[in-house]
Assembly symmetry: C2
Homo-oligomer: 323 residues x 2
DNA sequence: ATTATTAGTTGACGTTGTCAACTATCATGG
DNA sequence: CCATGATAGTTGACAACGTCAACTAATAAT
């Protein structure tokens, strides 16, 4: 786990001009790409705003209030009112009465669902058509990059979305090297640990892959929409002891309980695999990680000062009995 | 180098539903994020369209024709005409006469440049404000992800942009593990070489890092806006022989001459460092890479059949005398 | 009971964007 | 050279989009 950065580490650096330029260029690109400028949404005969509104109605709970939609989309009350009235006239929605008689809860009719489904299918096909030439691997890359952008730009939806939330899966080809890369950069940025740490991470992941014992060992990746949020390894160190290694959670994903979930996944697997004990090494300055280990039941059994990564610190060994 | 995929490998797989869903979700997010819906661009008193038009005028050559702008932006002739007339009335542009008397080439006046600069600064500040909380590393991640998205979604601008084009730089922390990850996934997707290859890549990069000899060894990353497009390593194998290792170019970046540039960089460095000879191992089925090596002056000196990565293939040793 | 607030509607109105008609110029081919 | 057609840009009519403020009806606060 890689937390407890010192204040200096998280102090908001003023964004670099290149970053700002890149983001602006991307914004221009995407505006064109998404075709937001086009007035008629997918030739459906309604404007983009109406289409977005219909989308919100269709996705949300039946019985939404106009005010909630308006607020969510930043729409003018009058404008929204007219669009909604239009939907009603077309028979797409029905409006009832709420407990509050001023409210007129909106629900899609069967007809409305059909209309939305038609538009939705059209959009989906259109979107799909724009990425047909991407193979499976490139699609994964795309999803990861999209997820990364959303996470970094702070999309509040990204964390709660139906499609999304995060999940944990076993590692696949290329994952472990990516873990090593992320960790190397993360520790460098947060603690200034340099190449020594990077080499160690490379050695750990490569050795893990080379000697991988299916059923006895495993690595897990926490991800959201294909973007890696964290990872952990379980290695067999003999004598029925499993070592938890390379736990980390990306900064953008902290506070979601991912670290704990990864530890639980790891410990659960080890227990099922019949290990007698879990073991891990960590550093005293990784206090957030230490808290996690402690709360998962690990106990500190050994400490040793060293300066493997430049600065002086204390390595710690923690164990957890499994039976 | 990783080319010459068989037809089966590049056959356009039908996009997976998750990918389409992720892209659509991203589109919704970004539409909101970029605020394209807002009618007045940055409270500048003009609409988004006018703002975009002004941007195009300011960015392009002086003396642009309205028709060119219109066509580029997909604008209605009448609409554009009125907006441009508005700019002229405000004194932001001056219109001359072209060789063709129908044309009225547009040029920004000093006043127009000032007005644009003001808006541009505002936009830049606004954009910067949205990413202030990102540290340097996260900004790099963001740029890489943005570049990746643009490349994968096929932004024609992405390749030619002033900011961009691609460039080659020495490796930094975390780069080599990323190279290993990308290569593992690439070879897996294109040739089905599995874990054996992945382990090899991990071993090569880790060993390189562990025994790195500054001045004698180096690795280079080709990138565009922070997104890795390719890489190559130069390793010292003794007796004044330098080995070129792990050359690869991402699919989205092929055909730009990046492979050749990486080889040249590598060979140039080796020559300057005083190596006597360059050497490399490759596989017979990587015909695109072989062509590159050949055109760079390498000569095939040894072949050996093996099946290290599953399928039967022939490993090849190529050398290049440097003096 | 008075006052303020909230959900939603309606009318007036300005802005944005579309379409077609229009002027002025240029290009081409007999 | 003239007829024809295309092109650059303008203009007017008009529909759609969006904003603002006034309005109704119901609820909440005191």
């Amino acid at each position: 786990m890689t937390d407890d950065r010192t204040p200096a580490d998280i102090s908001p650096t003023r964004p670099a001009p290149e970053t700002v330029a890149a983001l602006r260029a991307f914004n221009r690109f995407h505006t064109r790409f998404a075709g937001v400028l086009q007035p008629s949404y997918m030739d459906s005969g309604m404007g983009v705003t109406a289409a977005r509104l219909l989308y919100e109605i269709a996705q949300g709970q039946a019985g939404v209030l106009a005010s909630s939609l308006r607020e969510r989309m930043g729409l003018d009350a009058g404008h929204a009112s007219r669009i909604i009235a239009g939907f009603e006239k077309r028979g797409w929605i029905a409006r009832g009465r709420g407990s509050d008689a001023r409210q007129r809860p909106i629900a899609l009719t069967a007809q409305g669902r059909a209309a939305f489904a038609a538009i939705d299918a059209r959009t989906r096909a259109d979107t799909a058509a724009r990425i047909v030439e991407l193979d499976r691997g490139q699609q994964d890359d795309l999803m990861a990059a999209l997820g990364q952008v959303r996470a970094l730009l702070g999309d509040p939806m990204a964390s709660e979305e139906a499609s999304g939330g995060w999940s944990i899966r076993p590692f696949r080809i290329g994952d472990l090297a990516l873990v090593a890369s992320r960790q190397a950069r993360l520790y460098e940025a947060e603690y200034g640990w340099g190449r020594a740490m990077e080499v160690m991470q490379g050695e750990i992941t490569t050795a893990f892959l080379r000697d991988f014992k299916p059923g006895r060992e495993q690595a897990w990746i926490a991800e959201r929409d294909g973007a890696m949020l964290g990872a952990v390894l379980l290695a067999d160190v003999g004598e029925d002891v499993g070592q938890l290694r390379l736990l980390h959670v990306e900064r953008v994903a902290r506070g979601l309980g991912i670290g704990r979930a990864l530890i639980d996944q790891c410990v659960g697997f080890a227990r099922d695999a019949g290990y007698r004990q879990m073991m891990l090494w960590t550093q005293n300055i990784l206090t957030q990680a230490r808290r996690l280990y402690e709360s998962a039941g690990f106990q500190l059994v050994e400490r040793e000062a060293h300066s493997l990564f430049g600065a002086e610190m204390t390595g710690e060994r923690w164990i957890l009995a499994l039976h």
